[in-house]
Point group: C2
């Protein structure tokens, strides 16, 4: 991630940043559009000029994060050869992102909470899982085909790997007490146990 573009004119992006900060501080429900406006440094009317609803802001934030995440992953793993290395790199990448962009992940949890109660947002989350699954599954298939490792049940293992990352994110956002550097260091040894 490493910060949003801030070229002149992209007010929407500025609003998203403001919203992100607010959501991270107070959650979605407790954040008022006036809060976002004040963080944005403008008034509520201005927000509604750019966005049709509070929900639309959250959705936009989520889309942005999702796209950036996948771009990031692809860029990270593309130069690597081995599928196992790619999976290791993916794991490390997520932990590093979580360390660096804690605020963003934190406000993303807000999306999860809200998505739970909203069908259209939920669909976005499910789509996100599907995309992760595609990436991980194809790496497992590839690595197995190349004879790098052998996995008894690829879909199940893919699900569990993704679940682990997701669980780490959730926990860190809730507790803020994880030693993420230490966990990052253990990712290679973990994946090697996973995929011997």
């Amino acid at each position: 991630m490493g910060g949003f573009k801030a070229s002149t004119g992209d007010k929407k992006r500025r609003i998203i940043i403001a919203a992100m900060r607010c959501f991270q501080r107070k959650g979605y429900v407790n954040t008022t559009v006036d809060d976002i406006a004040s963080e944005y440094g403008r008034s509520k009317g201005s927000i509604y000029w750019h966005y049709p609803s509070k929900k639309a802001i959250l959705i936009d934030l989520f889309s942005y994060w999702m796209d950036e995440t996948f771009d990031g992953i692809n860029a990270e793993i593309a130069p690597l050869e081995s599928s196992r290395d790619k999976l290791i790199r993916m794991g490390e990448f997520f932990i590093e992102s979580l360390i660096r962009d804690y605020e963003l992940y934190s406000s993303m949890m807000v999306f999860w909470g809200t998505a739970f109660e909203d069908a259209s947002m939920r669909r976005m989350v499910v789509d996100l899982y599907r995309r992760y699954d595609e990436v991980v599954t194809s790496l497992l298939v590839q690595g197995q085909a190349d004879g790098e490792f052998s996995v008894p049940d690829i879909p199940a293992f893919s699900t569990m790997l993704i679940a682990m990352i997701e669980g780490l994110i959730v926990r860190q956002v809730m507790s803020r007490s994880l030693d993420l550097e230490r966990i990052r260091r253990e990712i290679p040894s973990l994946v090697k146990r996973f995929l011997p």
Copy 2:
């Protein structure tokens, strides 16, 4: 879990069940106290006779679930000898609970979302993590002492095991599309890879 006690007089328990159903359907924020009352089959005034606030109901539901979960785990793993078997059983137990008490887990996610925005609830969640960590860590220490397996970094591995379960719960609650039976079947093979 397998259903709440329903002895005469424990209206609070009935209210909790009603609330659970509502939260599961509509989430915490979108559930009104009138919704809970109507699911409970009584009026709002009645709810407020038993509980001082909507939040108190959620907290009570969470406490109940937490206690039941730990009782369940202890009962499951107590008769087992090997630490590895205990960890396998724990994993299976959670997946089985998730299959059986989906509604409950689903409404628990609501707690997560709300806890994110509320310091006192957040403390409860952090405490829950601490208790899981105690159980898993002590099993890892024990198994290592007994020469069953060897783990490079016990706290990190404990965290990751718990994260995996948590992640599975989150994902299932969101997507409802996981093949949990299949994942349950893979738990032993997964733990054996984890702890060779």
